[in-house]
């Protein structure tokens, strides 16, 4: 298959609708659909690529129905209107054109492992049909200088066209010597700069690459930072510890469909995945509003799946789509397993969200400060009406603060759309 598409020759799609987040009219949606179709037609003029892709998919023992199911799930996750379902399917098919280079820095491989868990299309489809995973040390056959040669070849050949995905933080301390790779002991700083230089887009997979994560937690022995922060470049941050495979694959599809970075929040995270707090969509939210809390691990309240707020759940301060997309093909997610959220998608969560089993109390937190949450939960106690009112007040406060926050570094290319208050207010 020809992978020499020049992305710069393809139109970008402006005004990507985000269901429930951006204001858009039916005309806006139609306009976006027209532009996406135009783009997909430019990549795959007669539809052969898509047809072959679905045929291969079916040859692997999956059905057309499986594929449609996956596209509609993905469309919903991307917060796109249903009219995009067939476009998402097609984007998955033509994204063979997208060369991907994946670099592991100060990592634990959790994000590579998370990507391995992707489904419909699974990882096999992803690497054989969907993307060209040209460099990933965890799965690639070549090692040593044959691996390094491969990297150099890919970044030269696909200059300006490849997506660079980083996993793990970048250690800047001691002249970068806490990370060296290759026969010449190149530092992570040098490697990252080389790879970033020719990338069409830079993605950080997981909280370490996005914000520094655990290596950057106090006392940060190696001077670790996230990629964007460390090199002061725009990065699309797919945070989480690890990042959910849906958010990784969804972002890749988004690039194929719109030929543009997704709309991002102030921390460079795609709004489609990180616009709402865990707390906003939590299945146990009703118990929070009713003042029904788990007070000890394994107590009757825990068996009845009451709210984990008093066990230290950081759902009210954490932006991610776990409650909607869950984990491992919707099998579960931490709150369903009876453990509070630890805020793993947020910057500095190891320091700001810990101790993980205690409510934040008076701790000040940088993104959406849940002012009054702790106080109201404790004083309102079991008064149902009061709790419901408090819940609304909390939402209002947190959302207001989020809008008023002065942004940190900002991605100059992002369309920074202030989120609307969630619908349940």
């Amino acid at each position: 298959m020809d992978s020499s598409i020049n992305w710069d020759d393809l139109p970008k799609v402006s005004g990507r609708p985000l269901e429930g987040i951006t204001e858009h009219t039916a005309q806006d949606v139609q306009q976006a659909v027209r532009e996406v179709d135009e783009r997909l037609n430019a990549i795959d003029p007669d539809g052969t690529v898509s047809r072959n892709f679905i045929d291969r998919f079916i040859a692997m023992g999956l059905t057309r129905r499986d594929f449609i199911k996956w596209s509609s799930m993905m469309t919903a996750a991307l917060m796109l209107p249903p009219i995009f379902e067939s476009r998402v399917a097609r984007a998955a098919a033509v994204s063979t054109k997208l060369p991907v280079v994946w670099i592991n820095l100060q990592d634990c491989d959790g994000n590579t492992e998370s990507l391995l868990r992707t489904s419909d299309p699974g990882f096999a489809s992803l690497i054989l049909d969907t993307i060209s995973l040209d460099y990933n040390e965890t799965v690639m056959a070549a090692a040593g200088y044959q691996a390094m040669d491969r990297l150099n070849e890919v970044i030269a050949k696909h200059k300006g066209q490849y997506v660079a995905i980083f996993e793990g933080s970048l250690p800047l301390g001691n002249n970068g010597t806490f990370y060296t790779t290759g026969a010449n002991a190149e530092t992570g700083i040098s490697l990252t700069k080389r790879v970033v230089a020719g990338a069409k887009m830079v993605m950080a997979a997981g909280t370490c690459a996005a914000f520094g994560g655990i290596p950057a937690a106090q006392p940060n022995p190696t001077g670790a930072k996230g990629i964007g922060d460390g090199l002061n470049i725009p990065v699309v941050n797919i945070s989480g510890c690890p990042a959910n495979a849906i958010n990784l694959v969804g972002t890749i599809l988004e690039v194929v469909m719109f030929n543009d970075n997704p709309a991002l929040d102030r921390y460079g995270r795609p709004l489609w995945a990180y616009a709402h707090r865990i707390h906003d969509n939590c299945e146990r939210r009703g118990h929070f509003d009713a003042g029904e809390y788990v007070l000890n691990w394994g107590d009757t309240a825990a068996q009845n799946e009451w709210c984990l707020f008093k066990m230290g759940c950081k759902g009210p301060y954490t932006y991610n789509n776990c409650p909607q997309v869950r984990w491992n093909q919707q099998v579960s997610w931490p709150i369903r397993a009876g453990h509070g959220c630890i805020g793993c998608a947020e910057p500095n969560f190891w320091d700001t969200m810990s101790p993980f089993e205690q409510p934040l109390g008076a701790k000040v937190y940088g993104s959406a400060l849940g002012i009054g949450i702790d106080a109201s939960a404790n004083t309102v106690g079991e008064v149902v009406v009061g709790a419901a009112v408090a819940g609304i007040a909390i939402h209002a406060t947190a959302t207001w603060i989020r809008d008023k926050q002065s942004p940190g570094w900002k991605n100059p290319q992002s369309k920074d759309i202030p989120p609307k208050p969630p619908l349940n207010q």
Binding site: G144, P221, W297, W327
Partner: protein, 565 residues
């Protein structure tokens, strides 16, 4: 008369967790005469653990590794329980074992196919195989081979051929295809390639199994000091059945694909097994795995017993944790040469870098990995160690599994052949099968307890200070976490992990670590293609993110580094 040796550096070693460099010296016949193992990545997790609330230890420790995910979570949490004297309820122990079982099966399947497979099978050669013949070959190694019809094989060929034809090989680019050290026939290659793709689906199912009681994978989130949180899943029969069903799909794959494929490899690579290629050090160590009662370690019964075993004497001895020391003579840390007990260790980074041309400094320090030693000796740890120790302890289950495997290899497999790269890889599959065979009984035990109203999953800790350790085997081998807690806060933390034992550099006596020792006399069939070196190093299943460690240095300042980019 010393022939001129040629240095050959392999960095990055791919298809592992983490960052590993192997440097070997080759003689004119491309035979390895000297070997060095080094890691070039350091994070400092133990330093970061300082002063944290003890409840959080497991979650921090878990991030040591996303492949061993859960292992450090469990052992870190249990180290806290040991330090504070917490006895967890029986149901919590069973669920922790079930989660661990899902990790072992997942890890072993992914290791063999995704990480290690391409050392044994040739992707490109598989494309020239006859699918009909391949279907017949598969029947030679299993009466019920997994997804092994001619139609499946043809579809796999077409799929991968399309990739090759496009010139975009993705992960298969620059492999060592066509190297004469590949011993499988094209039909056998095709079976392996097909199962490589099947394994990607199976590992997803096994990860889902972990998510049932763990909430997610990687990095599950349902363990707390004193027990587990997933009580709703434990008391819900449909959730328990969901877990069991997913584990059974994994077990089926292990019986009908993984084990038969290992038989096929042992058959094809029998010369390598007989010559002991990849055999490293004579001493093997295991802390044991899967506690079967509530009696504290090391007295309690375990599915895999603990001990230290020597190949030459064939003797197994009981383990004494006091005899473990970490030597830093050749690692980038300061500390006394003969090493220190992990509960006492106190070291700080001492980075001395590389030679001017980027080579390892062989006369000095050359790795971020320390050199753990037991009674002053390097130890191999992992599935092979667990089986050898189980057999030496006359464990009937382990003895039978090993004997069954020996008999099932068409060309035969003698007890001596376990001491090789082939044997190390076979041990992992045999172990996976043993674990898979026990899961049903553990689930029944859990269901019976719940049925009788025994639903306690948590014991609250009553102390906030103490010190202790937890030693338990992870998929890759012996894992220990040592901890001291004062007034609810961590004041000392140290992990000594399987890959630290296996990937260790030399020590103050000059003794090589197991990776280094196992490479000596390995011959490369093609100069500059390190296929045979990768095969042996991969057989240990390296996990280098885990292996690199530092301890708190009591009172020592952590250097603040100048950051300039």
């Amino acid at each position: 008369m010393m022939a001129q040796l040629k240095r050959f550096t392999i960095d990055p070693i791919t298809r592992i967790e983490g960052h590993l460099r192997i440097e070997v010296d080759l003689d004119p016949n491309n035979v390895v005469k000297d070997a060095y193992s080094s890691s070039g990545m350091f994070r400092g997790i133990e330093l970061i653990m300082q002063d944290r609330d003890f409840h959080d230890v497991g979650l921090f420790a878990q991030r040591i590794c996303g492949v061993c995910t859960y292992t450090h979570y469990r052992v870190g949490t249990e180290a806290v329980e040991a330090a504070l004297g917490v006895q967890i309820p029986t149901d919590a122990r069973i669920v922790r074992n079930l989660l661990h079982a899902s990790l072992f099966l997942h890890d072993h399947v992914v290791h063999f196919y995704q990480l290690h497979g391409m050392d044994w099978f040739d992707v490109v050669a598989a494309l020239s195989a006859d699918p009909e013949k391949a279907a017949a070959v598969a029947l030679k190694y299993s009466p019920t081979p997994y997804n092994a019809g001619a139609g499946t094989f043809r579809a796999v060929q077409e799929r991968v051929s399309a990739l090759v034809a496009s010139g975009e090989l993705g992960p298969f680019a620059n492999g060592y295809w066509g190297n004469p050290s590949y011993k499988l026939t094209p039909e056998q290659d095709l079976i392996m390639l097909s199962h490589y793709l099947d394994a990607l689906a199976v590992q997803r199912t096994l990860a889902q199994a972990m998510a049932v009681f763990g909430g997610k994978n990687p990095h599950p989130q349902s363990l707390v000091v004193g027990g587990v949180t997933s009580i709703m899943d434990i008391v819900d029969p449909s959730r328990v059945a969901e877990f069991l069903g997913k584990m059974q799909s994994g077990a089926q794959f292990i019986q009908n694909a993984y084990l038969p494929d290992i038989r096929m490899i042992a058959d094809a690579y029998i010369q390598e097994a007989k010559s002991g290629e990849g055999y490293g050090v004579p001493d093997f160590m295991s802390y044991g795995a899967f506690p079967l009662d509530n009696i504290p370690w090391p007295k309690g019964a375990m599915l895999f017993p603990s001990g230290v075993f020597n190949r030459n004497t064939q003797m197994v001895t009981d383990l004494n944790a006091d005899q473990i020391k970490e030597d830093v003579t050749r690692a980038w840390y300061q500390g006394p040469n003969e090493g220190v007990y992990p509960g006492e260790e106190s070291t700080i980074p001492d980075y001395t870098g590389y030679e001017a041309d980027g080579a390892l400094n062989r006369s000095g320090k050359y790795s971020w990995i320390k050199a753990p030693r037991y009674q002053g000796l390097p130890m191999e740890t992992g599935p092979l160690a667990r089986l050898l120790i189980g057999r030496a302890r006359k464990d009937p289950l382990i003895e039978k599994a090993m004997t069954d495997f020996e008999r099932s290899v068409p060309r035969g497999f003698s007890p001596d052949e376990w001491y090789s790269t082939v044997g190390r890889t076979a041990a992992r599959a045999v172990e996976a099968d043993i674990i898979a065979s026990q899961v049903g009984a553990w689930v029944d035990e859990l269901a019976a307890n719940v049925g009788q109203g025994q639903t306690q999953t948590y014991t609250a800790p009553s102390n906030t200070s103490g010190e202790g350790f937890r030693l338990l085997d992870a998929p890759r081998g012996a894992l220990g976490h040592w901890i001291r807690i004062e007034n609810g806060r961590v004041t000392h933390y140290q992990a000594v992990v399987p890959s630290t034992w296996n990937a260790s550099p030399r020590d103050h006596k000059g003794q090589m670590g197991p990776y280094e020792a196992s490479l000596i006399n390995t011959r490369l069939a093609v100069a500059n293609q390190p296929l045979e070196v990768l095969r042996t190093v991969h057989s240990f299943d390296p996990c280098i993110g885990c292996a690199v460690h530092i301890v708190d240095s009591k009172g020592a300042e952590v250097a603040r580094f100048q950051v300039d980019v």
